[in-house]
Amino acid sequence: MISEKLPRLLIVDDLFGRQLPDGRINEDRAHLCGHFLLRDVTGDESSRTAKQIIKRPIAEVVFLRGQKPVCALPGDHVENDLEGTMRRIREGWDHGPDRWALVLLDLCFYTGRVGNNENHPGMPAGRSGDSNPSSYFGLSILESLHRELPNLPVVILSSKPRESASRAYAELGALGFLARADDKSRDQLIDFIWRHGLIPDDRREIIGTSKPLLLALRAARRAGADQRNVLILGERGTGKELLARYLHRSGAAGKDRPLVMVDSGSLSPTLYASELFGYRRGAFTGADRNHVGKIAQAHGGDLFLDEVGNMPGDVQAGLLRVLEHNSVTPLGSNVADEANVRFLSATNEDLEGKAATGGFRQDLLDRLREGGSVFLRPLRERLEDLEPLAEAFVRQAERANPNAIRRIIEPEALDVLRSHSWPGNLRELRSCIFNAVFNYADVEHLMPVHLQIDRAGTELHVAPGREAWPRPIETKFDDALAAIAGFEFDNIRPADIVGQLYKAETAYAHFQVGLLRAALMLTRRRTLDSPEGELLIHPAVKLLTGDRAMPGSKAADIVKRILGHSTSVKIAALEDPVLRSAYEKAIRLRPSSSRKKRVAKHAGGER
């Protein structure tokens, strides 16, 4: 169930995270690891010297005390350390393959003076508020995590009664509660890792450890846990079919169930119904024998409908009947066959929009996504996965070409790959790598010169069938606009955005700052005295707004407003020499009222 690379857990707990002096082993921690079957990779003295071997660990674990000092002696005072705790959690969340799969968070942290505690050396006696559920330090950490890292999966690990703070930790986004000393807690932890943890594909059919991918995999596992239909969304080439296969095998009942694939795009409208529903001999001209349809083949299992948006209207009506009655009637037959099928559908179209304009049946769409939708992010939004993907494709290409020798991907080539926006996503990347390996079979180093990533040409070259149509050249700016305009709020839980809309505003402010900078650079006036170009705010703002008649004073106001959106935006922007220069010009042109007064006063004094 869990991949070869063990998921990495973080346990924030005062008792198990503490270190003991003189290289002594934290016995409680060793027992906890022995109980849950966790491999301690904290890296402190206790984890290095422990002689315990977990034979079949379910996960790696790093322990964090959440307090300072980490190693306390009798007489020392131990205090909670929210800032240090958050810093450590951030470090392990931002960086690739060893990212926290799950954080287990204690509720009650004891502070104060350390006495001679025989059971738990180095533990303080505790202060009155420590064990008060309303002021648990664990809840303070959880609140900060919820605000700053809302996607980080957190489960409470405590020996306190769960009801003591159940409402508080649920409100702050904790995903569950794990009792420490319970004979069922190990199975429960495995279940939590599976359901809530951010873990890669154990079979490595889907490659990558980026957050967007891991979130999609988690959504797929959750959706796959029951037998309801799931809709997979994503641009072409993002790996929707692979995700459907993952979803199929992730289900508890997925082991021996059939998975039948239907590429709706490859079926003509006339063939669609007969392929899907099957037919009896004589149903139509050429039907010289009975044919079992895809739905009947998938009975008791899953049916993957790729490009479901291409489904003809009459087939949509037939499929809706199948979904309503759990039975399918082959063409030319009056007898319905049982069809207990889960539909995994995929599309790169805006089916909601299509349904709104009558291009797709809304009732069918609702049926096809009753178990939820899973969105696969485009490659440009998970560039963290580009290197392992490129590596995997190089090895596949080398295996596919007996003449190719093994090569390493040079950093310069990776830089080139990262700078591309990959409108064809993984399929385009794969093709690009395969071309490089096949065209340059006899080199040991994959260099930029081997990569053909001319956008339009690559697309024409790599995209098979219907996807080979030429399309307008896209730019990163187009991608950004599409991402902003197409962002769907439908699947966001209210808890994810409550109190966070200011972040969207700040992000938009940064986006505007970037636009302004681009416009400033584009409208520089090059002269002999200034070969790099003089920055001009007036033409830059005119370019931005499209308002050719805009007066210079208004342009200055706009620059001030964009750069002065908030203190954080202003500080970040003014670190950039281009933006600082523009801001200074704008201030000179349109001084603020207080500045005007100062200038007037100064001028009066001179008089």
Binding site: D28, G112, N117, H120, D183
Partner: protein
């Protein structure tokens, strides 16, 4: 130990509690107990340091009982003893290799129950006295009532409390859970005595069922202690 002042300090909690209970009968501030000094305590975390104490450095009976419970159930039983037991069972199941634990479990860790048993027995005995609202009449401000009123109202409060909550069942369940651990412990000890060497995994494995039964009994005890109320309910 300050035996004549109705308060205790330092040293063994069980002895201290015993004195404090005697002292409570003496009236005055007999029901308010001085916090134990954690620096010299046997129990550790459950006994909070001076910053814990609510009223001028004195613990009221229900706080003192809660701290004793935390020391036994949270600090020792759940976070120390049961975890060690679970890890040890995984050694027996060949999921974990830990020679140190094998060497020490039967001789050092397992007998801790014999040392701690008295604490939970004491918790059971003191539960109704400490957590009944009757205890309010032995502390300020109700301590100012006339003695006859205190006695009378205290009895009424206690009767209503017992009417509203399954106090007898809680006490009975706890006593049964304690004897369940006792029985499982005896059976385990008996099973271990049959083996000639309690420091090798194959021999210990022969007592696996007894270890598991003992773990289950301890787990049941932890639940029986946990289910008791965490606050003094004023009806």
């Amino acid at each position: 130990m300050e035996q004549n002042t109705g308060k205790f300090r330092k040293g063994n909690r069980i002895q201290s509690v015993s004195h404090s209970r005697q002292d409570r009968n003496k009236g005055d501030r007999g029901s308010i107990v001085r916090r134990p000094d954690s620096a010299t305590s046997l129990l550790g975390r459950g006994e909070r340091d001076e910053e814990v104490v609510g009223i001028s450095g004195w613990l009221v009976p229900w706080e003192e009982w809660q701290h004793s419970r935390a020391a036994f159930n949270h600090d020792w039983l759940k976070n120390h003893y049961l975890l060690a037991l679970e890890a040890f069972l995984n050694v027996l199941d060949d999921l974990v290799e830990n020679q140190e634990l094998v060497q020490e479990f039967v001789s050092r860790l397992l007998p801790e129950w014999e040392l701690r048993r008295a604490q939970v027995v004491d918790l059971a005995e003191r539960f109704a006295i400490s957590m009944s609202p009757k205890a309010l009449f032995s502390t300020q401000p109700l301590l100012n009532c006339a003695p006859s009123e205190r006695d009378c109202l205290g009895l009424v409060a206690d009767a209503i409390w017992r009417e509203h909550y399954p106090v007898q069942r809680w006490e009975k369940d706890l006593r049964e859970a304690i004897s369940g651990v006792d029985n499982a412990y005896s059976a385990l000890r008996h099973s271990l005595e049959l083996g000639n060497d309690t420091k090798t995994v194959p021999v210990l494995r022969e007592s696996r069922a007894a270890f598991r039964a003992f773990r289950n009994a301890c787990s049941h005890l932890a639940q029986a202690v946990e289910v008791l109320p965490g606050t003094l309910e004023i009806l």
